[in-house]
Every structure is written in structure tokens, then in C-alpha cells.
Symmetry: C2
Subunit: 185 residues, 2 copies
């Protein structure tokens, strides 16, 4: 259910079109939740049907027409409920789903040279990801000036910090894994 609530959260900052939401999603939430353009449009329809959103068509002559969405009161209270739900299943929300660990698991079937190659690719990606995330903090601060709410950027930065810890841990693991995969068989 996170896609719906991600959209609610973004629209809570102000009305937007599907196109703008898509960009906002990519700029902010996509580090920990990837959504396709098509998914966003579909969810907007569903959510309007649920009464969480209202929309209005804007005719444009220079560009294709567009449809601007805003939260209804139901939408706002749905967002608040989701955020503060004491029954929220934290454990389940934390679970890992990782395609690359599936390959690691069967590493014994691919020959050590291949396993080794894969692990080095993982290590390299970790390094790239850490570098990329190093720049996020600054760009959140920039955005924060617009939003001008320190309480928001505080939590935004925590998600970026999570990313750094995550890839740092993965990097450490990858180095160890490379060493293990090199042990005489």
C-alpha cells in the first residue's frame, strides 16, 4: 500500500498533476520506493474513485491538457491514519527482498570465477551508490529552503542516512564475501 500513501504524502505538500507527481516521486521517494509512470496514473484514478483525491482538468494550448489532483478531506485523514496507525506491521515492512542475494545463494552452481566477478560488481555498485548519496544531503537542504520546514527535512535526511548505512554495510559485506569466495576450495 505504500504507493498510494506516497502519493498522498506528496499531494499533501500541494496539488499536482500526474506528471509532476512522477517527477516528485523520482526526486524524493524513489531511493526506497520505485514507481512507474503508469502506476502513478493508475493509482490516481483509483484514489479518486476512493474519494481520496479530487481533480480538475486544465486546458492548455501550447502543451497537452493536464489534470491537477488535490487531496480531499478523506485523503488527508487516510494519510494521517496510515502514518499514525499503531497496528502498522513494522516487521513485515522491514523485510528484505533481494534478487542479487538469490544469485549469491546459488553461487556454488556458477563456478567460483563467476561468483567472484558478480561480487566485485556488487562492491563497485556499492561504492557508486555511496558516492551518489553523499550529494543527497545538500540537495535536501536546498529543497528544504523551499519547504522551509526543518521538521520535514529532518526525516528526509534520515532516509538518506539510512541509504548510506545500508550501502556501507553492503560494501563491508561484499569485501568479506570476495575474500570468502577466494578461499581455496
Amino acid at each position: 500500500m505504500s504507493l498510494k500513501h506516497g502519493i498522498l504524502g506528496l499531494l499533501n505538500y500541494g496539488p499536482m498533476t500526474g506528471y509532476e507527481l512522477n517527477k516528485a516521486f523520482k526526486d524524493s521517494l524513489s531511493f526506497f520506493w520505485q514507481a512507474q509512470t503508469s502506476q502513478i496514473y493508475r493509482e490516481l484514478n483509483n484514489m479518486e474513485r476512493l474519494g481520496w483525491l479530487s481533480s480538475e482538468q486544465v486546458i492548455q494550448t501550447d502543451k497537452p491538457n493536464k489534470r491537477v489532483y488535490s487531496l480531499t478531506e478523506e485523503g488527508e485523514s487516510e494519510l494521517k491514519n496510515w502514518l499514525t496507525d499503531p497496528e502498522a506491521d513494522v516487521k513485515n515492512a522491514m523485510s528484505v527482498r533481494s534478487a542479487f542475494l538469490m544469485r549469491v545463494f546459488f553461487g556454488g552452481e556458477m563456478g567460483n570465477a563467476n561468483a567472484h566477478k558478480m561480487l566485485r560488481a556488487i562492491r563497485d555498485e556499492c561504492i557508486a551508490a555511496i558516492t551518489a548519496l553523499g550529494r543527497v544531503d545538500g540537495s535536501i537542504s536546498d529543497y528544504g529552503e523551499v519547504v522551509s520546514d526543518i521538521n520535514k527535512t529532518k526525516y528526509w535526511k534520515l532516509t538518506a542516512l539510512f541509504g548510506q548505512s545500508y550501502y556501507q554495510a553492503m560494501l563491508g559485506w561484499a569485501e568479506k564475501a570476495i575474500a570468502v569466495s577466494e578461499e581455496k576450495e
Copy 2:
């Protein structure tokens, strides 16, 4: 595509029924890939249609009948190809999708007391997960005696080690996040 390949990987150890595969999945792969019973049965059908598997019905009188699946040659080579594919998109396979970070991101909207409560729940789950994973190594060794292939258990253990690093990093992050959420506003 990891579900199909997880099934291929398990069937590579020997023929099994859907039911047995389901258990094997839960015992080994479910830490990093959760699959529902119904998904496994559906995929078995699909994979048989693809020619990756063959199956044979076994009539039982004491229990419901069952259908035993085995890899075909196409299935085996599909598995090998997937494992050794040099084009495999490591970066994409590493990406995070985390419902709880979505909630953290919008933490500013839920009031600090709620945010704080959520972060403590996360910390507690990390501790529980680390404790649980502490036991995995031993159970892999047990299983390893059956499989009696040190090269396999080596990679199995690496995935468990990943889990430990992951939850350890998340624990560290959660402690920091709790501190941040307590800062005077």
C-alpha cells in the same frame, strides 16, 4: 524473475512437489525472497509450459495425490544462463524497496511522539532479527551435512551474513534516528 530461478535452483538439488518446494523455499530462500504458496504453484505451471520442468502425478491413497517436478535440460541451462549472465543488472537487483522508509520520510507529518514510537519499534525488530539470524549458521551447517557440498554452504552462509550486516546497520541507524527525533524542535 527471481521466483522462477529460485525454483530452478531448488529443483536442481532434486525433484520435488510444490508442497516440498514451498517448504524448501521457506527454509532457505525466504530470508531474502518471500513467495506465497499460490505463487509457487502458479509458477510451476508456467515453467512446465515453458519446457523448463517436467512433472509426473503420483497417486496416493493415504494422502491427497501429488505431482513431482523435475528440471528438464532446458531448465538446467536456463538456470546456468541466469547464474552466469554477464549482462545481469546488478545495480537494479540491489535497489531498496522499503515501506517503512516511506513512513519515516513523512515522519514530520505524524508528530514527533508517533515518529519516535515507530523508530523504537524498528529498533526492537532489528534486535529480534539479529538474534534470529544468529541461529541460522548452525542450521545451515546441519543442512550442509546432508548436502555434503562445502561449496554450496559457503554461499548460503554468505547470504545469512548479509542479513546480519543488514540488520546490524539498520540497528545503528535506528539508534541514531531515535536520537535525531528527540532533538528539540
